[in-house]
Amino acid sequence: MKGNIKIWLLVLVASLFVFSCTKDPVKPEEEAGNISFKFEHRIDGKAIQFDTMKYVNAAGNHYLVNEIQYFISDIILHHSNGEKQVLDAWDDIIYIDTDLEETQFHAFPDEISPGSYHSITFTFGINEIKNQSLMFVNPPESFMFWPELLGGGYHYMKLNGKWLDTLNQVSPYNFHLGIGQVYHSFPDSITNFIQNYFEVELPESTFEITAGQTLDLTILMNVENWFQSPNVYNHDVWGGDIMQKQDAMKLACENGWNVFTLEK
């Protein structure tokens, strides 16, 4: 009888072990890849040396850059089969700040279909539907707010620096882009606002996504291009501030078409 009890207990313990274990779900074979962006900022093909008066723009202004802070949004990957994939659709406004290293790298959570892609596009700034005041309450994004009176929402970009003016004085410039205004009488009677955001298509932005792998891409801002093509932008003409100068912001935004390039 003792032997029977032992067998009975043995069966009980064994069955406990066997039935208490469940099979790990079989990991499906990787069907998607991922993508990440690193943001770099260059002048004349080289990393910016901040706070150094060593650059000359197309207008002949000697200038330095102190900091650059900006938003891009609505990033779309264009698949060769014609499909489009919007990245990070629920959190699709990205803030980049040359003073904050953590903002210069962005890994997207999206699962991306493998295959060939022929281009990447994004909005420089934020479109008028999304660009709503107080949608960012936390710094550093909240520090980018664009005053209500001037159209509200957020700066698309703050590019701060200094240039040598006509009197050969080092003068600060705030190359700030955002919503423009049409004035009936300057400065307190505004009749209309102008959305200055624009779409960027990164040239030569073909790339391949492989299942199970993350593709690291570098997006370059070539700062000198803000000032040269198709419009020669002259700090001596526009002065140190342009938030209330739609004509200046228009020129700058027209120059934005080739400011960004992709480095694979």
């Binding site: 009888m1 102190n66 900091e67 107080l134 936390n138 707010f145 005053p147 080092v170 002065g239 209330q244």
Partner: protein, 422 residues
């Protein structure tokens, strides 16, 4: 793991009792063996095993004396309209009702100096006066001109910054931001450290942390308050720091006329509106890039700027002293403009006594240097060139940032009685 630890603990405490129980178990085992010899022994044995387990469980438990558990009440900060949701509260000092209550007593108790003689009492509130937005103010009876000094008479290096909305400061405390959350020096990170430094500094309280904690240990009522806040009646200086920091984090100002305007409760006067326009336009006074506005209701970025006050920079405690970046020479924190009309004197060295002087400075007296911040883009014209009526409008707008409710809020004021007086 917690259960295992607890059982092990009980066992260790009750060895004698357990020996007694084990004897009982041995007797029972003998009986079980005897019964196993009989027929139908399998069923009997199973019943006996069940009985044994039940018996063991019931008899191994003894009643513990009931102790009041340490269970502080979590304190939730209400986020005012438009304010950031990210708060600077260290993980090791969560805010509790009991901690804040204790912190308020300590903030106001002159015995924070570690001394009891009426002539040498000093607390945070000696300098940080509620009616001056927790700054000294230019009319402070003991600090003429609003520049505080310690009991030794030694003046602080800079004038004061107010204790207001500091729970939203993530960029460093002090004019140069020397206390910041990821500082490699672990004892220079947050408001807690500010408390300790203030108690020790010769130009402030000039005390001794051991003496301070020992004194509060002996004052009736305080040990009980420490127990409620931190779970032990033993007073530690670390807990003194934590309690005061918790209280300071509750000092929130968000009920000014401008706040009411933001949510549509009141209208600003025409002059105030004109001032608001000047405040938030580059062609106006261009204050908003550093001092906020509708989109940044803190009315500061908490960042550091060289705002064109000087051309020679010799202050050993400017922003450069923290970052070692030569571009930061002569740079200091942009202060919040909330309640600013009560916070004279102005600038890090208190060089301006009135807001009118400050507005004149930004209008006409900016000084160019290679280090002036690029946001000071009017510097080569000497300033924003406001006309007299514009200066008045700007001043009137800035005064809409005064929050009288904050200045009189009883939750922030001196307790009627200290714990030993109750």
């Amino acid at each position: 793991m917690k259960i295992v630890m607890s059982v092990a603990g009980s066992y260790g405490q009750r060895t004698t009792e357990m020996k007694h129980k084990l004897n009982k178990v041995s007797l029972l085992t003998l009986r079980l063996r005897a019964s196993a010899v009989n027929s139908n022994s399998l069923r009997l044995s199973a019943s006996a095993v069940s009985l044994f387990i039940l018996f063991f469980f019931f008899t191994s438990c003894t009643k513990k004396p009931v102790e009041e558990p340490y269970k502080p009440t979590p304190y939730q900060i209400e986020i005012p309209f438009g304010f950031p949701t990210k708060l600077n509260i260290p993980d090791d000092n969560p805010m509790t009702v009991e901690g804040i209550n204790l912190g308020r007593y300590l903030f106001y108790d002159g015995r924070l100096s570690g001394r009891t003689h009426p002539d040498s009492l000093m607390s945070c509130a000696t300098c940080h006066r509620q009616e001056r937005s927790f700054e000294a103010g230019i009319d402070h009876p003991d600090f003429p001109g609003g520049h505080p000094h310690g009991l030794s008479g030694l003046k602080t290096h800079h004038v004061m910054l107010p204790f207001i909305n500091l729970v939203w400061n993530h960029s460093g405390y002090g004019w140069n931001g020397f206390l910041y959350t990821d500082n490699p020096s672990e004892d220079l990170r947050n408001i807690e450290d500010f408390v300790r430094l203030a108690v020790l500094a010769e130009d402030e309280i000039g005390g001794d942390t051991t003496r301070v904690k020992n004194l509060f240990q002996t004052i009736d009522g305080y040990p009980e308050l420490f127990a409620k806040a931190f779970g032990s009646e033993k007073v530690t200086f670390n807990n003194i720091e934590r309690a005061i920091a918790q209280f300071i984090r509750t000092l929130i100002s968000a009920d000014s006329k401008f706040d009411k305007y933001m949510i549509g409760e009141v209208q600003l006067s025409q002059s105030e509106l004109n001032g608001f326009v000047l405040f938030t336009t580059e062609e106006g006074a261009d204050c908003f890039h550093c001092h906020g506005g509708f989109g940044n209701p803190l009315f500061t970025t908490h960042l550091f700027y060289n705002n064109g006050k000087d051309t020679i920079f010799t202050d050993p405690m400017d922003r450069f002293s923290v970052t070692s970046d030569p571009m930061d020479r002569g740079a200091y924190k942009a202060t919040t403009l909330r309640n600013i009309e009560l916070q004279a004197p102005f600038m890090h060295d208190g060089r301006f006594e009135t807001l009118e002087e400050v507005i004149d400075f930004y209008s006409h007296d900016l000084l160019w240097s290679p280090l002036v911040d690029p946001l000071m883009h009017h510097v080569n014209r000497g300033g924003v060139q406001l006309l007299p009526f514009e200066k008045q409008d700007l001043l009137n707008f800035i005064k809409t940032l005064r929050d009288d409710k904050f200045l009189t809020n009883p939750a922030f004021s001196k307790p009627e009685k200290f714990p030993d007086e109750q």
